[in-house]
């Protein structure tokens, strides 16, 4: 029987804490069919720009469309890979350098599917989800708009 995956809340305000990540791992304890987890964490990098060093990224999104896009990515990943479960969390608002802004967590009976699905999901998010980012620079309110390559 085809499993139905309900849309889940993806956006969180501010950085994603290591405690949140560890609690997510712990909550899979009872899912004993899982043999492999793959976790991707996106961290804010202190890039050098012409006007100075990046101190944080301020994220915004077209939230309704983004939630649909995340849902479609989940559906595609479940269709394409042998996955037991999947969780995606993305920050909105300000995330300082060194903090986590993206947490992708895929679980499978076997490692290959977990590795491949995590890469697939991250690339899909970068390309297809309407999230926008302002890279804040220095202390004087300067910024540049970020663009995924």
């Amino acid at each position: 029987m085809e499993k139905i995956h309900k849309p889940k809340k993806v956006f969180v305000q501010g950085p994603i804490s290591p405690e949140f990540v560890s609690k997510s791992i712990a909550s899979h304890h009872s899912k004993t069919g899982i043999g492999a987890h793959a976790i991707f964490l996106g961290q804010i990098r202190a890039d050098q720009k012409e006007s100075g060093t990046v101190t944080a990224i301020e994220y915004s999104a077209y939230e309704e469309m983004a939630e649909h896009a995340f849902h479609e990515i989940r559906e595609k990943a479940f269709a394409r890979f042998e996955l037991t479960c999947m969780h995606i969390y993305h920050s909105l608002g300000t995330v300082p350098v060194g903090e986590i802004s993206l947490f992708v967590f895929v679980s499978s009976p076997h490692r290959r599917a977990a590795f491949e699905a995590s890469e697939f999901v991250v690339e899909e998010i970068k390309a297809n989800v309407p999230v926008f980012g302002k890279e804040l620079i220095g202390e004087n309110g300067a910024y540049v708009w970020k663009e995924n390559s």
Partner: protein, 79 residues
């Protein structure tokens, strides 16, 4: 016809607002809307953006119905 238009990220800075009601005396396609918007905001000509109609990226030939929600989306930066 009048449609609800939303601007995101740097595009909201260029247009000076996050959304507006777009009035047109003819039926719109995405392509027609795009040329009208570039006429009103010439600074957008230098920016890359996609047009979403009812939360889906739409090609220039796609029609826009009067109850549609239009969004102008600058390059994505998630992750």
């Amino acid at each position: 016809m009048s449609v609800h238009v939303m601007y995101y990220g740097m595009l909201a800075e260029i247009t000076g607002h996050a959304n507006e009601l777009w009035i047109s005396d003819e039926n719109l396609t995405v392509g027609k809307f795009r040329s009208q918007i570039l006429e009103k905001y010439p600074a957008l000509r230098e920016k890359k953006f996609k047009v979403a109609v009812n939360q889906k990226i739409a090609e220039d030939f796609a029609p826009i119905d009067p109850s549609a929600e239009i969004a102008l989306l600058p390059p994505f930066a998630g992750g």
